[in-house]
Amino acid sequence: MADVKLNNIKKSYGNVNILHGIDLDIKHGEFVVLVGASGCGKSTLLRLIAGLDEITEGELQIGSELVNDLPPAKRGVAMVFQSYALYPHMNVLKNMSYGLKIAGKDKAFIRKKVQQAAKTLHIDHLLERLPRELSGGQRQRVAIGRAIVRDPKVFLFDEPLSNLDAALRVQTRVEIGKLHQELGATIIYVTHDQTEAMTLGDKIVVMNQGRVEQCGTPLELYQHPITEFVAGFIGSPKMNFIAAKVQSIEADHLVLRLSNGAITKAFVDVTSCNLDDDVTLGIRPENLSEDSDLGERISASVSLVEQLGEASYLYLTLSDATEMVMRTSGESTTTIGETIDISFNAESAHVFNADGLALKRHRAGNTKSPAELARLKAIA
């Protein structure tokens, strides 16, 4: 078993602190995705786990062994790089066997391992080729193959899909997901693409300015972001934020007066609220509707329409100039310049206090993963 434990990991370069104490607990076989804006320290954290940079402070355990001072290969980690980092002067076979050769394994063993991995990744016909003779997707597979042959306890992926074109990215993403199912290995995956994070991760770690902002399953982050940052980061297009004041406090909901004067309800934990508090209402574009029958209503004018086919994004401006985005049906005929009444369900509203912390939502939707749902349904 190879659990990965990060205990108050800090990293600084001279006086500049990059990571301010990261605590993470990664179970064996978990697929953990580190997301965050560029410069948030996610790649630095991955390099610390890989052993490419020194940990300034804190403890890193892999499989209950303290590995702070071990070189990468001794930690049992393998890494896939953004640029693939294939050795340009070696063919695919040599690229994949390099690590084992360095480790002093015998030739027959290496051959077997590489063949096996090549077969899994469908690159067994490419073994004699040089990296420059491969397409982007094939290089990506070779890079993954190079990691697999070493039977690492932990796989590290550093934005592995960002050099691929859109179609290939989706395909490779699915394959990485399947690979995880097959290998059952622990994977730590860095990306800035939240679709990748949502689809691949068992657990997502949202990082912001060298700190873990929130850590949880994809749907937990989506349904229960604990800060405004996470709420804005997870989901695309971004969650809408509207300044508001607490008008009245009821038993299970707040009544808010939005900056444009509209009055809405929000089903959140009210215990820490006072009348007239400044709060922020958060509402996701996909929770807004052009039908004005979902309870809470706002009037807005349309400033831009993006038609994607299956859906259209309406860019809206409220009377107080607050900008909003909503996702509506691709069939919608609403167009630029119109003023429309949009509505949302009070249960889908998020509320953040003046410090940017979320108030717990009472009536959020499903947060269980497919695997968990399947298990629960089997029991029932």
Binding site: M79, F81, Q82, I102
Partner: protein, 309 residues
């Protein structure tokens, strides 16, 4: 569909842009070279007339003891001069480049500049300074060596037949070690960091990373450095001339092709200069370098590929 083909005007712009460069190249490089080759086939009479004598200059140079002894001596010395550069200058250049590219090194630019500085100095100055430094009469080297307890090992290195050529080679190495260093350093910087990281994650030590990853990737540069060294060494002249004069003493121990050519062509002391014999020596120098470069191109460069990084 009919296509109308405009009659193309004569591309005068090509002539205009290539012309000046071509003209200079032809007059100062191609013409002298061809004329030298031509001259080597003639003999100069007392009255200055040239008579065609075929390859007799070459047979004299290669087989007549009066000529062939100095010729083979110079060739042999030149080869030693080259070997010292290959075995000392280029490995040290490589080592310095690797040290310079180490991310932990501080004051990198200062080292780089200091090591490269002698390369920019005139060979005459370098030769003169080293001659003073190593002089057994007023050089500071002897005292310096006594100070650190190595005084017994001091010798008049530049004055002895056994050590003069080697010493001069090392002076030249000292001056020019910055060139291979810079070229190899640039090549090392061109290797992406992720490639090195990948190798580290694969478990290689610093040495293994160097040997298996960096070295193959800078091989083309090392090849280029070698061929540049070869050409420069077989064209060398100034250092020997500055330190030892045209006679390349002691007793021709430091005579190389360049100095031999100088004496043959311009004459020195009792030796009369000869236009045609000088041309023959120059032609042989040209051939030696030609053969060396050709060997490099066919044996080395074909096998070593440059890899897009």
């Amino acid at each position: 569909m009919t296509t109308i083909r405009a009659k193309k005007a004569f591309p005068w712009h090509i002539v205009f842009f290539l012309g000046p460069g071509l003209l200079i190249y032809l007059t100062v490089s191609v013409y002298p070279l061809l004329d030298t080759l031509r001259l080597s086939l003639y003999n100069e009479e007392m009255n200055g007339d040239l008579t065609f004598t075929g390859l007799s200059n070459f047979s004299k140079l290669l087989f007549d003891v009066v000529w062939s002894d100095p010729f083979w001596n110079a060739t042999w010395n030149n080869l030693k001069f080259f070997v010292v550069h290959m075995l000392v200058q280029n490995p040290i250049g490589l080592l310095l480049a690797v040290l310079l590219s180490s991310p932990k090194l501080r004051m990198r630019n200062s080292y780089r500049t200091l090591i490269f500085l002698p390369t920019m100095l005139s060979v005459v100055i370098v030769g003169f300074v080293w001659q003073l430094l190593l002089s057994p009469l007023w050089g500071i080297t002897e005292n310096l060596m006594w100070d650190i307890g190595l005084g017994n090992y001091f010798d008049a290195w530049l004055g002895k037949e056994s050590s003069a050529l080697f010493t001069l080679s090392l002076i030249s190495v000292w001056q020019f070690v910055g060139l291979p260093m810079m070229l190899i350093y640039a090549a090392l910087l061109g290797i992406p960091d992720e490639l090195i990281d990948a190798s580290v994650v694969d478990g290689s030590s610093a040495w293994q990373t160097f040997y298996h990853i960096k070295l193959p990737l800078i091989m083309p540069t090392i090849g280029m450095v070698s061929i540049l060294t070869f050409v420069a060494n077989f064209n060398a002249f100034e250092l020997i001339y500055t330190v030892k004069g045209a006679l390349a003493g002691p007793n021709f121990a430091t005579d190389i092709m360049g100095t031999l050519f100088y004496r043959t062509f311009f004459g020195f002391q009792l030796q009369q200069g000869s236009l045609t014999m000088g041309a023959a020596v120059a032609t042989l120098m040209f051939l030696v370098i030609l053969v060396g470069v050709a060997l490099y191109l066919f044996l080395f460069q074909r096998r070593v590929q440059r890899f897009a990084l």
